[in-house]
Structures are given as structure tokens and as C-alpha cells.
């Protein structure tokens, strides 16, 4: 299966509690499937870029309402021979998504003053999203608390 990577660079997260709606653009990283696509996240990376000690709690969560008219960013294929992905990444939208009030898929904390987080799934242990529609079709990586500048990257495999 083809693997794709989408990055969100140098953004200042806003602390979003579960249920937070209409997220401001450039405060999160979103990954969205289409009705015809299914993806599974195989890796995510968070790199802290704050200029002073700032602890962020970051979470990968599902969305109860998808972003309206997201500005799609085409994920890069890690293999140049792969077809273009059907799924997209985004960091901005006309109306931002709403975070679901459900179990988080992953929670990590880091000091964004140079801190780094990397999670890699073992085969068969990936995080799934499918079919486009909320709350199954999109995922969001953002902050629960802390507003230190970060860059984030999500790698996913499209099925």
C-alpha cells in the first residue's frame, strides 16, 4: 500500500478541549478521507519550536463535525511511483472542524522548547479513518493544553 505524508509547519496551537468547535485555521493538523478512501495512520511526529519552555499536551482525536470547505493540501507520496492520494491534509478551512467528545486516540506531552515526539505503529496497530463522513472520516492532531509552537507530520497508508 502507498504511504503518504502530510506536514503542518510552525503553527501555534490553541488549547482545544473535547467538543471545541470551529477550530481556528493554523491551530491544528487535519487529515481527511473522501467517501472513496480509507486510511490508516502509521506514524506521527511532533517537533517543538518554542523559544522558551512551554509544555504542550497534544492529542490525536476524531471529529464530530468535519471542517467546512477545508483548504486541501495534497499529501506527498513517500514513493515517487505511488499514485496521488485520494485523502488530503489540511490546516485551514472556511469553518474549522469540531472535535468529538469521545476517547482520544493518542495523548502525548512534550516541552516544545526543542522537544520531539515520534510514534510509529507496528503493522496491524494503525489508527483508522474512512468514508469521509463525520465522525469516522477525519482526524485532528492538536493541543489539549499549551500553546508552544510546533510542527507536526502525519504519515498514513491509503487502502
Amino acid at each position: 500500500m502507498a504511504v503518504y505524508t502530510h506536514g503542518a509547519v510552525g503553527y501555534t496551537p490553541i488549547a482545544h478541549a473535547d467538543g471545541a468547535s470551529a477550530l481556528a485555521s493554523n491551530s491544528y493538523q487535519g487529515i481527511r478521507t473522501e467517501t472513496t478512501s480509507t486510511l490508516r495512520i502509521v506514524e506521527f511526529f511532533i517537533g517543538g519550536e518554542a523559544t522558551a519552555s512551554t509544555v504542550n499536551r497534544m492529542a490525536l482525536r476524531r471529529l464530530s463535525t468535519n471542517a467546512a470547505t477545508p483548504t486541501n493540501q495534497v499529501p506527498a507520496a513517500t514513493n515517487p511511483l505511488s499514485l496521488a492520494s485520494t485523502s488530503d491534509g489540511y490546516v485551514a478551512a472556511t469553518t474549522g472542524p469540531t472535535i468529538a467528545t469521545t476517547q482520544h486516540l493518542a495523548n502525548v506531552a512534550l516541552n516544545t522548547f526543542g522537544g520531539v515526539v515520534r510514534w510509529v505503529a507496528a503493522p496491524g496497530e494503525e489508527i483508522w479513518a474512512t468514508a469521509g463522513t463525520a465522525p469516522n472520516g477525519e482526524l485532528c492532531l492538536d493541543s489539549i493544553s499549551g500553546t508552544g509552537v510546533v510542527s507536526t507530520d502525519i504519515k498514513f497508508e491509503e487502502i
Binding site: 476524531r62 469521545t102 476517547q103 482520544h104 526543542g114 515526539v117 510514534w119 505503529a121 496491524g124 474512512t130
Partner: protein, 109 residues
């Protein structure tokens, strides 16, 4: 070679640049709720395991009372995409949030 589905993921949290430490964990992903769990190497209790899907499950109550694999949720989400049912998300206790009649109907086919 183990017949148990999945292996061990890897989580690295490196705070050395800010005077912290480097933390490395093995991780598992719950076969029911899809949550990533960093493994505590000092844990004494047995970890959850589903005999039906033959895979690791987390400690959430909802994941331990019934077998609702995330892969079945993916299947249902594709099949009933227009319903907007929460086939993949789970509640805070790991409980299923979608209509189980849809699952049962799908299993009987």
C-alpha cells in the same frame, strides 16, 4: 512467530533539549477502540486480550465487555457511510456509540 495480531509500536518523547530526558516506550493499539497505549514496563497485571479477535485490548471497560473490533467499524462505516453513525469513535470508557443492530445485521449476512 506469534499468531497474535499486531506487534509493538514505538513512542519516543525526547525532551533533552529543554533539560528533560529521553523516554522510549513500546506501544500497543487497542483492537477495539483504536487507542494507542504506551506500555508501562513495570506493570504487573496482565494486559487485556480478546479471544475473539485474538488481539490486545486496552483497560477500558467498554473494550472488555464485548468484541467490537475497529476493523469491523471500518467495514460498517464504509457500508453505512451516509448514516453518520459513529462507527469508529468510542466513548471515554471505550463503549460503542453506534447502533448495535447495524453490527448484528452485518454479522448475520
Amino acid at each position: 512467530m506469534s499468531r497474535v495480531r499486531g506487534g509493538r509500536g514505538y513512542l519516543m518523547i525526547d525532551n533533552r533539549a529543554s533539560g528533560g530526558e529521553l523516554l522510549e516506550f513500546k506501544t500497543l493499539t487497542c483492537a477495539h477502540c483504536n487507542q494507542v497505549v504506551a506500555l508501562n514496563p513495570k506493570r504487573q497485571r496482565e494486559r487485556g486480550f480478546c479471544q475473539k479477535c485474538y488481539a490486545y485490548i486496552c483497560d477500558s471497560v467498554g473494550c472488555n465487555v464485548d468484541c467490537n473490533p475497529i476493523l469491523e467499524g471500518v467495514d460498517l462505516a464504509q457500508k453505512y457511510a451516509t448514516l453518520g453513525e459513529p462507527f469508529l469513535p468510542r466513548g471515554y470508557k471505550g463503549e460503542v456509540l453506534f447502533d448495535l443492530e447495524l453490527r448484528d445485521k452485518n454479522r448475520l449476512r
